[in-house]
Symmetry: D2
Subunit: 312 residues, 4 copies
C-alpha cells in the first residue's frame, strides 16, 4: 500500500562509510559497497546517515564519500544525503554541499545538543527546507537528538510541503502507524515517503502502509531486504514474514561486540562493517574514534551469524 | 501463526472498572460490560489491569470487581487477573486473593517505586511464580514501572517455566519481534503467550507472530478487534489492515481530553469510560482520584469519533 | 537560617524497618534503633519512608512498625509517617491509619504507576490534605515516581496551606534553592519546612536556607548528623564542612554491594541495615524481597568504611 | 578551600557570542562584553560554551569570536575555549584551531549524537588530551549529550593527568560533592579545577570545595559573582548567601520567555542577551536559528528583574 505520491520508496540502505586504517575514506571499498547494493536491486542509497558515521567525519571526508557514492550510483537510483548537524545554519551548509555534489534529496534530524522544543524544531525544518531546492526528509531519531517528532508536527510539515517524507528510527511503531493514517487523512495529496529505519519490523510496517525501509542491516544483506520488499509489494505476507524472520536473526550480529566494553554506536556500525569485511565487500572494519573496531573474538561471533543466515 | 503452546490467545480486553459517582464499584455496569465483551466473542478477559484502574482501588474493591467479572464470565473464557503492586509479597497477597476468587491466570509487572535492576526483577518473578499455582504472565510496561523487561530475561523466564507469557505495553515493537524469535529459538516447547497491548499495531504484531492482543480500546469496540483477529488468523491481511486502520482512527478518542489539564492515565481510561457511557454500556464515566472524568466538551469529541467509527 | 515557621526542622532520620529472617518486623531491633536515634539528639523521626521499605510492607506490618516507633519515641520528638501509595484514596487510607496510631505529620509523594501530570498531582495533594487533620509534607522523589514537583506547584501548595513542607530527594539542588527563595518571596508567612534528603550536601543546603535534613545515612551515624546540624545552626561552616566530608565518605557504604548483581534499593537500604547490624543496633540485615541482604564480602566492605569513619 | 593545584579558579563566565541582525559576529559588542567582564574582575573567560551558542556557529565564526575574545582579554586572565563537537576528530580539529588562536585551555564534552558508553567516553577524552598541548577540562552536561560523567571516570582521568578539571553542568550536586572528595582522596596531588556551572548554588558548592564557577548569569552581573566569590574565599558565608540569593532571584530572567513557544536554549541565552542589550553592553539580542530572540513583552519581563536586582 505504498502511497502513489511517495517519491522515495522501497529499500534504501543507509550505507556505512568504509575507512582505511589511517581513518581516511576507503574509496575502493565504498565503490564496491555501492555496486553490491545496486546489484541487489535496492531502490535508493542513503548516504551519510548514522550508519555512515556522518557525525564522526569532517566536511572534507563527507564530501569525498558523497562524491564517490553519487558517481558510483550513476543515477540508477536516487541518493539521499544526510545533513546531520546540531543547528540550522550548519545543516544548510551541508545541504548546499549535497546539492552541489549531486544528491537527489536530503535528510535532517531535529536540532541537537541545544535544548529545544517543538517551536524551535518546526522553525528548523522550515528554515532548512526554504534554503534548499532538494526534497527534504525528516529523520526521527530521539535516542540521538532527544526530540521525538510528534505525529502532529510531522503531519503539519508534510501538509505544508516542507518535508517529503520521514525516516523513522524512533523505535515507536505505534506513533509511526498513527502518522501513516494522519497524513492519509489530513494531507491525502501530499508527496509523502514513510520509511522505517527498524531492521526487524519491515514486514509489519509495510503491512501498516510504509513506503519502504532504511535498514542498516541491508548493508550486509541487501538481497534479503529486496526479497522482503518484493514479497510485501506482492501481498505475499507469509513469504515476507519468513524472510523478515531470517533477517531478524541475522540482526543479532549487533550483539557480537562485548557489551561490557562497547555501547550502541560501536555495536551497530562495528558489526555491519565487520560483516562486510568478512563478506569481502570492504577491506577493513575500522571505525571512527571514539568507537573501536570489533576484535577477533567478536568478529568470530559475526561470522557465525553470517553462516547461519546462509551468507557465508 | 499463533503458537500451538499459547494458553492465552486472541482478543483479551483489559476491561475498565466502572465506578459510581461515589467512587464505588458499579456492579450492574461491570456485568453489562463483561456481557458485551462475551457477546462480541472475545477470547479472554484481563481484569484489574492499568485500564482497570487497579492501582487506584482498595483490596476490597479489587476483590469485588474480580468476583463480579468471574461470575459474569462463568467460565466461558479465561479471566486473567492483574496483581499489580510495588513489591513481591504484596503481589503474592493479590495472587492468593485472585486464586481464591477463581481467576485462571495472573499478570504482574516488574517491581516499582523502589529502584531495582535485572537481578531484583528476575527474583521478583521467580518468587511470585513459586508462590502460586496459577500461570503467570509478565506485564512489560516501562512507562509505569521504569523497567523494560529485556528479551534475554523474558526468554530465560519462559524457558524456565516461570512465566507463561508476556503482555507487552512497552511501546517497543522491535524488542517484541525479537522476543518472539528468541523464544521460538531458545524455548521452542515452552508454553508462551505473546500478547501485544498496543491498540494500533495488532495486525502488524499478529503478522510478526503474536498470540493475541490486550487492547484497552477493545472495551469500546470488541467486535472490531474480534474481526481484526479473525482476519489475521485467516491470513486475510488486507482485511486485517482495513479493520486495524478503522480502529487506529477510533483510538483518537484518547486525544479527546484537553492536554493542558490532563495526562496519560486520565486521557486513556477517561476516554474509554466516556465512550462506554455514550454507548450505553456503563452508567457513568467516573474515574478514580486524582484523575478526573472527561467533561461535556471532551465527551462531545469522543462522540464524534464514535460516530465516525460507525459505533453510534 | 531555618525559617521560624518551620514546624519540622533539624535532623529527621528516615529510619529503616528492621526485619527478622522470616520477613516480619523485628520489634526489639526497631526499639533499639529508635532509642539510639533519640539518644543522639535527632529532632524527629521519619517512619515508613523509602529507607523504611514502606512499599514492601503490608498494611499490618506498617501499622506494627509505626506503633512501635511512636511508642518508643514517646512524644520526645515528632514522628512523621510516610503514606506512600500509588493513588489518592490509598494514601488517604494510610493517612487515617497514621492519625489513629498517633503520628504527628504525614509525608506523601506524587501519584505513581499511573501516568499523571501537574493537574492530577496537584489534585492528589489537595485531596489528601483535605482528608486529614495532620500536617502534610510533599516528598519529591522523581526517581521513584517519575514526577518532579515543580517550584511553582510546591509554592502554590505551601501558599495555600495544603502542605507544611517538602522532603527533597529529587537530586535537583538547583530547584531546591529556587524553591527556598520562591516560598520566601511568595508565601513569607506560611509554615514551611524544607528538608533535604541528600546525605552529602546537608551543609550546603543548610547554608542555602534548608530547615533540616532527612538523611538515610543518619540511621548509621545520627551523632554525626546532629553535630553537622549544630555546626550549621551556629554558623560554624568550617566545622560543618569537615563533618559533612566525613559523612560523605561514610556514605560510600552504598557502594559496598556488588553493582553487577544489585541496584539502588538493595544497595542503599541493604548497606544501612548491614552497618546497623555491624554496630550492634539491629539483629539482622534482612531486607524485603525482591531485594537481597548484603553478603559477607559486601558486609566486609561496609565494615571497612565504618572503621574509617571512626564508628567501629 | 580552593585546591592549591587548581589552575583555573574563581569566576569564569561562559560568555555569550553577540550577533548582529544578519547572524554574523558583532565584534564591537563582543569587545565591550569582554571588557565589562574584565573590569568586574572575573578570573577567566570561557569562550564558545553552550551560552556562547558554539554548536550554532560555523568554524569561521568560532575562530573570529575566539580571536576577538583573546585579543580583548590580552592575557589578563586565561581564556578557556570550548571545543564542542559530536566526535573525537572534530573536537581535535577545534583544539588545534584554539591552540593556534592562543587559547589557554580547552573544554570538551562527552561525544554526542552517537550512542556511546563509558569506554567510548574515556577513549574520547584520552584521545583529545593526547592530541593537544593545552590543558583539557571535561564538561559534564548530560542534558545536552546524554552521558553523565561518573565520579569514577572523572577521578581516573584526573589522576592520570588527562584532564585538569571539570565544568559541572550536570545538575547533580550530590555527585559533584562526591567528586570533590574522590579526587582529594585518590589524586591528592593532581591539578584539578572543579567549576560549577550552576548559577544558583555557587555559595553552596564553594562551601563544598569547588574551585570556582562558570555561571551563564555572570554575563549579566559579573560584579555580583565576583563579590559572591570574594565572600566565599573570605569565609564570610552570610555575605555569600545574601549575594547568592540576590543572584538567584535575578536568574528568574530565564523564565521571561513564553514557555508555550520557547524551550531551554532560547530561554537561557535569549534572556542573557536581552539583559545585556538592556544594560547597553551589546547591541542586539539576536540569537541563532532555530532559536528566536525574546520579543518586546518578554524583554519587558527581563527589564523588571534587572531593576529588582539593582542593575537598571
Amino acid at each position: 500500500m505504498t502511497s502513489p505520491t511517495a517519491r522515495f520508496a522501497g529499500v534504501v540502505p543507509p550505507i556505512v562509510t568504509p575507512l582505511n586504517d589511517e581513518g581516511g575514506i576507503d574509496v575502493a571499498s565504498l565503490e564496491r559497497l555501492v555496486e553490491t547494493q545496486l546489484e541487489a536491486g535496492v531502490h535508493g542509497i542513503f548516504a551519510l546517515g548514522s550508519s555512515g558515521e556522518t557525525v564522526f567525519l569532517t566536511d572534507e571526508q563527507r564530501d569525498r564519500a558523497l562524491e564517490v557514492i553519487i558517481k558510483t550510483t550513476a543515477g540508477k537510483v536516487p541518493v539521499i544525503a544526510g545533513c546531520i548537524e546540531p543547528s540550522t545554519q550548519r545543516v544548510i551548509d551541508r545541504a548546499d554541499a549535497s546539492l552541489r555534489l549531486g544528491a537527489d534529496a536530503l535528510v535532517t534530524t531535529a536540532p541537537f545538543y541545544a535544548i529545544v522544543g517543538p517551536h524551535e524544531t518546526e522553525r528548523h525544518f522550515r528554515a532548512v527546507a526554504a534554503a534548499t531546492d532538494l526534497p527534504l526528509l525528516a529523520y526521527d531519531i530521539p535516542a540521538c537528538v532527544n526530540t521525538k517528532l510528534s505525529v502532529d508536527l510531522l503531519t503539519t510539515l508534510v501538509a505544508g510541503g516542507v518535508i517529503a517524507g520521514v525516516k523513522d528510527s524512533s523505535g515507536d511503531d505505534v506513533a509511526f502507524r498513527q502518522l501513516l493514517l494522519s497524513v492519509r487523512d489530513n494531507a491525502p495529496d501530499a508527496a509523502f515517503s514513510a520509511l522505517t529505519g527498524h531492521e526487524v519490523v519491515v514486514d509489519a510496517m509495510m503491512l501498516a502502509g510504509a513506503s519502504g525501509a532504511v535498514p542498516g542491516l541491508a548493508n550486509v544483506d541487501p538481497d534479503g531486504y529486496v526479497r522482503l520488499h518484493n514479497a510485501c509489494i506482492a501481498g505475499d505476507w507469509d513469504a515476507a514474514r519468513t524472510e523478515q524472520d531470517r533477517l531478524t536473526r541475522l540482526f543479532r550480529i549487533v550483539g557480537a561486540a562485548d557489551p561490557a566494553t562497547t555501547a550502541g554506536a560501536t555495536r551497530g556500525v562495528g558489526a555491519f562493517k565487520t560483516a562486510l569485511q568478512l563478506l569481502g565487500v570492504i577491506d577493513s572494519n575500522a571505525v571512527s574514534l571514539p568507537l573501536r573496531p570489533l576484535d577477533e573474538a567478536e568478529s568470530g561471533r559475526v561470522r557465525v551469524e553470517l553462516e547461519r543466515a546462509g551468507l557465508l
